[in-house]
């Protein structure tokens, strides 16, 4: 859940969406062996749902923090 990220930020500076963040906890995922995914056949992709964006939006590649 997102509580940790939200709690680590100063209360006055937490966007509403931070309280809604969650990781996908589908019990069918991660039960041994590579899970079937929405993108790949036999690659180690971890996406458990389709990514519909054309451009990379995580920003991790460019982060300077």
């Amino acid at each position: 859940m997102s509580k940790k990220i939200a709690e680590e930020s100063q209360d006055a500076q937490v966007p509403f969406f931070a309280h809604l963040l969650s990781s996908q906890n589908d019990p069918a995922a991660g039960t041994g062996g590579p899970a079937p995914t929405y993108h790949c056949l036999d690659s180690p992709c971890t996406k458990k749902y389709p990514s519909d964006e054309d451009e990379s939006t995580t920003g991790l590649g460019d982060r300077d923090w």
């Binding site: 809604l20 969650s22 589908d26 990514s51 519909d52 054309d54 995580t58 991790l60």
Partner: protein, 341 residues
């Protein structure tokens, strides 16, 4: 390094190195069976490991893509599939930050620019993908064309959000305008799924001052649809998200559980006609459209993703022939392309 032959038609697929969808292989096979060569160009490999040449010389425009796997000079009978982008993603991270920013900015401008000026068919131009990705405009167009849409509020105003929520007796869901991930200190990916608002959320709404959100009345679901529009064809698939605990609000939360649960769906003629009108209005060949079917049978338009994923609907049930449809559009098979004039 292989080079093009003069007579062979070519398709260049614009993507990024980490795009490992199985669609690439399927499309390659479909194109090869049609006598067409496919070259994949990863946007993160440019400009460090791949080259692009756009030139105006001798009265003609030249557009050439060069990768370690081969090179292609595109002509009027060729085509481009713009799928994914990570502009300049492999530029060295230890470059001076300002210089790297300039390189990334110019990389995006170069690639977007040449795709806009390509001397061949592009499925679909990145400028159209960006323009038609805006959710407010999608809802406005859908409603204009007679499609049902949920009551919606997009705002950064907590007071307006509270008033909207109070006016929705069946409840409210909230979601983001786009998709992004945040990683916690263990590196675990966290996202905002579509979420049903509960009373505990209401005292957090002041956080809208930092980021607006989308609020929609909660629509009762019989099934959820993903309609893949490719050229003149619509491929509709349905999933019963209400039968799986945890998938009721956002089926993606049980995406793996539901992966094999999609079934073919026959759209009512009226809805099909309106979705064709939507695609004609945006002038695109491709979109992945999400709808809800209410128990009453009313079809409610949610969004149309201009670059949405679709491969799972070919690889799994309902096994729609999506790669073949893409290939038909790219090679201009008879009646495959939607007129965008």
């Amino acid at each position: 390094m292989s080079t093009q032959s003069v007579s062979t038609k070519h398709v260049v697929v614009i993507s990024r190195s980490d795009d490992i969808t199985g669609m690439h292989k399927e499309l390659h096979n479909e194109l090869e069976s049609r006598g067409v060569q496919m070259l994949r160009f990863n946007t993160d490999e440019f400009p460090t490991n791949a080259q692009v040449i756009f030139a105006q010389e001798d009265g003609r425009d030249v557009l050439r893509f060069c990768t370690p796997q081969g090179e292609v000079e595109l002509g009027p009978n060729d085509a481009i599939w713009y799928r994914r982008a990570n502009w300049g993603g492999k530029l060295p991270m230890d470059m001076d930050k300002q210089l790297r920013h300039g390189c990334v900015s110019e990389t995006e401008a170069m690639l977007r620019g040449v795709l806009e000026a390509a001397p061949c068919f592009v499925l679909d131009p990145p400028e159209l993908v960006r323009k038609n990705g805006h959710k407010p405009a999608q809802l406005r167009l859908a409603k204009k064309l007679g499609l049902s849409t949920p009551r919606t509020l997009m705002t950064n105003d907590p007071q307006a959000a509270r008033a909207f929520i109070a006016s929705c007796p069946q409840g409210v869901v909230t979601k983001m305008l786009g998709g992004f991930a945040i990683y916690d200190d263990k590196g675990e990916e966290q996202v905002v799924f579509t979420t049903a608002l509960s009373p505990e959320h209401l005292d957090k709404l002041d956080g809208l001052r930092y980021c607006s959100m989308v609020f929609q009345e909660r629509v009762q679901k019989q099934v959820e649809l993903r309609v893949t529009a490719i050229g003149r064809r619509l491929f509709a698939a349905a999933v019963d998200s209400q039968a799986t605990q945890g998938a009721e609000v956002d089926w993606r939360e049980r995406g793996v559980t539901l992966l094999q649960s999609w079934r073919p769906y026959t759209l009512p003629v009226e809805i099909e006609t309106k979705l064709h009108a939507y695609m004609a209005a945006i002038g695109m060949q491709y979109s992945a459209i999400d709808l809800i079917v209410e128990p009453s049978g009313r079809h409610v338009f949610l969004e149309a993703n201009p670059a949405g994923e679709c491969f799972w609907l070919q690889y799994n049930s309902p096994h729609h022939p999506l790669a073949a449809a893409l290939a038909d559009v790219l090679v201009a098979a008879p009646l495959a392309r939607r007129s965008t004039d």
